[in-house]
Symmetry: C2
Subunit: 239 residues, 2 copies
């Protein structure tokens, strides 16, 4: 495992809602935060040039010590050990099928997908039913054997991630692989202001994904960038 090497997939060419613009603001924001924390970032895109432009923009903001590059998606998958999937739900399965040959055994795939109804023309405050139970479980069905899927980062505001202030949000991490979940919680905790919480098995991702639709509704209703904090747990819950 190379814990300092992360691919960040942000490529998507359409915009079902503001959180999933073609330039992948959630993905860009996470990449920015991790680049600042000293992680090696590879931006993946269908178009290598676009990936490089995005990488250069993050490099510029994160400073000279950051290590951010851009590659075509398959090359990015092959080059990284921790893969982040941040595409709209309607592109998730197709992309995973395309990339399956490039995803190497032993890698970790962190899925941030939220099956918002907006991805099929509905409302961003509603969720589609996914046969497997959650977008993350759909992902788990589509990756090669020996790849661990983790669901996390669904509830972070892309706008806030792309800013410079500390966040005020917890990240609930769900996975059937305790080691992959632990590594993901450590990554989450590198984002200033974020605490990571062990959310148990991957099947629990269905609830965490749905919380995003609730937060989108709150954002629309109250003009904010909402997130959640879990209260009432001992400090050991955030390790």
């Amino acid at each position: 495992m190379r814990p300092n090497s992360h691919e960040w997939k942000a490529g998507s060419t359409h915009a079902p809602n503001r959180d999933y613009r073609w330039d992948g603001p959630a993905g860009m924001g996470l990449a920015l935060r991790w680049a600042r924390a000293g992680e090696t970032i590879i931006i993946g895109s269908r178009d290598e040039q676009r990936a490089q432009i995005a990488a250069a923009a993050i490099q510029r903001r994160a400073g000279n010590n950051a290590n951010v590059s851009g590659l075509e998606n398959s090359a990015a998958c092959a080059a990284a050990d921790i893969l982040m999937l941040t595409v709209p739900f309607d592109g998730q399965a197709t992309l995973l099928k395309q990339l399956k040959p490039a995803i190497t055994e032993g890698s970790i795939l962190i899925d941030t997908t939220v099956p918002l109804a907006a991805s099929v023309g509905g409302r961003a405050s509603r969720i589609l039913g996914v046969w497997q139970g959650s977008a993350a479980q759909q992902t788990a069905e589509l990756v090669p054997a020996g790849v661990s899927v983790v669901a996390a980062f669904h509830n972070l505001s892309a706008d806030l991630l792309n800013g410079d202030d500390d966040l005020d949000c917890d990240v609930i991490v769900c996975s059937d692989d305790p080691d992959a979940a632990q590594l993901t919680r450590e990554l989450a905790a590198k984002i200033p202001g974020v605490r990571a919480v062990d959310g148990g098995k991957l099947e629990n991702a269905r609830i965490v994904e749905q919380i995003t639709a609730l937060l989108v509704g709150l954002n629309i209703r109250h003009k904010g960038h909402s997130g959640i904090r879990i209260t009432g747990l001992p400090p050991s819950a955030y390790r």
Copy 2:
């Protein structure tokens, strides 16, 4: 409307999990908090004597100025203008059908039901699918015309409600009746430490109900009494 008169239904004779014991700890805890805040409380039960015993226990803890009484369920429904439903999911529909003739037009029914799989012998960290979308929407189908249904209070720890400390949790309130939602938010804000958030339409209750299953899982995993806070919203969101 008599905003100081609340029926509190807590009657249930079985115990699918710790949050839904026969003595209805969530219901008792809310009644205790509102009795202390000066609200008039009527405890409802299938058995009037049991209701009176529960009422006396709350009266004792809430002090001499509290106004807590106990009635059989139908009498309680007829006597109150705001009805709280706090029974396990498997008892919800049957009870509502029984009580339908006693629920008066113009009253508000606040539904706290969470369709935990535990109510049919499954896990308390899993949720049943409800045809209408949520337990609250099932309730809306079963109440007489002219009764407003509000979904709220799902995510409060019964143990913490029954204690004396301030809570550290937000209550997300969902309803298709803005006035009933507003009244419910005012009630929620009377619980020390609680902020109420407008969660939009009743259909959104499906997400808020599911959050409880996530919190149950966190409580089991981390030995806590978890709740949630919504972050990133302006102060106006909590009115």
